[in-house]
Symmetry: C2
Subunit: 244 residues, 2 copies
């Protein structure tokens, strides 16, 4: 077993499948091409056909779409262990852009690397399909949030989801997590103005539910926040490996 066995990506896939030594070796070989990107440096441009995906090792990234009128909709954030642009590899053209929020480390994965890995271990294909399904479930929740939740529940749901995702890779707990996002990120994610984001965060703080300050999200009343957001984490499917 190599050092990569403890990468966030492998930790995350292990929530779905108990990986064998040989599967870990295949995954380790996917980790060869290490790259770093500076905060604010676009990685994949919407419309580009690059056929390269990344697995994020350290740092935070946001994926977004720019509408023709210039408005930005943030689709999701990626945290360590997440794929960036898996869709771009398979769909041949990127339907969105990625921007590192802080300096990041990522591993470059080419389409044929993935095909090779799938040929060597089909269970790995299933695990990656699991991760993609989970990503889709998050976008669905995000859609439901914008379509059907009020601003307070939307914000609470978003912070709880991030906390759960980070807990899976050892970077968060029910106490809270470090968070480099700005109020502009939150606004473009939740479909609110920055002023509205400010007001919602103040209300959540005044109700002693959660504080987001100085790069740290602190949950004061985790269960109260769960109740406000009607947050059911089942869609994140983190209850332990299905494939033994």
């Amino acid at each position: 077993m190599t050092g990569e066995a403890h990468s966030p990506f492998i930790r995350k896939l292990s929530a779905f499948v108990v990986l064998s030594e040989s599967e870990l070796a295949v995954l380790a070989r996917l980790h060869r091409r290490r790259r770093t990107f500076a905060a604010g440096q676009d990685m994949v441009h919407q419309g580009q056909s690059a056929q390269t995906a990344y697995i994020l090792s350290a740092g935070w990234v946001c994926s977004y779409k720019i509408q023709p009128d210039g408005a930005r909709q943030i689709v999701d954030f990626q945290v360590p262990g997440d794929f960036l642009g898996l869709r771009s590899v398979l769909l041949r053209t990127s339907d969105h852009s990625f921007e590192p929020i802080v300096d990041i480390e990522a591993v470059e994965v080419l389409a044929h690397d993935l095909l090779d890995a799938f040929a060597q271990t089909p269970r790995l294909a299933t695990a990656i399909l699991w991760a993609a399904s989970r990503d889709e479930a998050m976008v669905v929740e995000h859609l439901v949030g914008i379509g059907r939740r009020d601003a307070g529940a939307r914000m609470a749901h978003f912070l709880l989801e991030l906390g759960s995702r980070l807990a899976l890779v050892g970077m968060g707990s029910k106490k809270g997590f470090d968070c480099p996002l700005t109020q502009y990120h939150l606004a473009d994610t939740l479909g609110l103005s920055a002023v509205h984001v400010n007001r919602v965060l103040r209300q959540l703080r005044e109700h002693a539910l959660v504080t987001f300050r100085n790069g740290r999200v602190s949950f004061h009343d985790y269960e109260g926040l769960v109740k406000l957001a009607e947050f059911d984490p089942a869609y994140l499917d983190q209850a332990g490996p299905l494939l033994k």
Copy 2:
């Protein structure tokens, strides 16, 4: 080669990968358990852990989430060739419900069937990951639509997307397509009231762009509608097989 080689599912995957005889045989074996469901009969309940997915052979299905307050958000529609509940198989609990809009035919696929198929032909795993990525790209577009498009552009984009998806399986063209959806489906999809849906459809008709009447969507000015919606179909990735 069997009759299943011409199923909508195989037609759809063929947009991504040129399937060999042996891959077609593996796919044909996935088509063994045929089921029918009546319109309005729920197939998968939100929160159920069923481990069964379906491939839709004929008819239309809608997937939706009910919020705790009872509001319904339609996440997507499935048309022939689409998976239903692939996420439910992999995520162990269904994050949404499926309801047939008309009487449908579907093939039941169990988790271990998929694993077996992947083991036999890893390229098939990639093709199914492609289909899942495409589904996710559609949810992303839907999110951007609700977050950032006005009602007219949102409706136009939705009808153009359906037309393209149906064209892929031989059921639509730039002239139009048969469509069993009601104005309530459109409202719960686009985050509009039924009255607003009515008004938007009337405006699109009065501008001689598109008519939706008597179960038929008729495009009168396809390019005009594309322009209004700023519709770029690249995310549907239908330009022809990548894997030869």
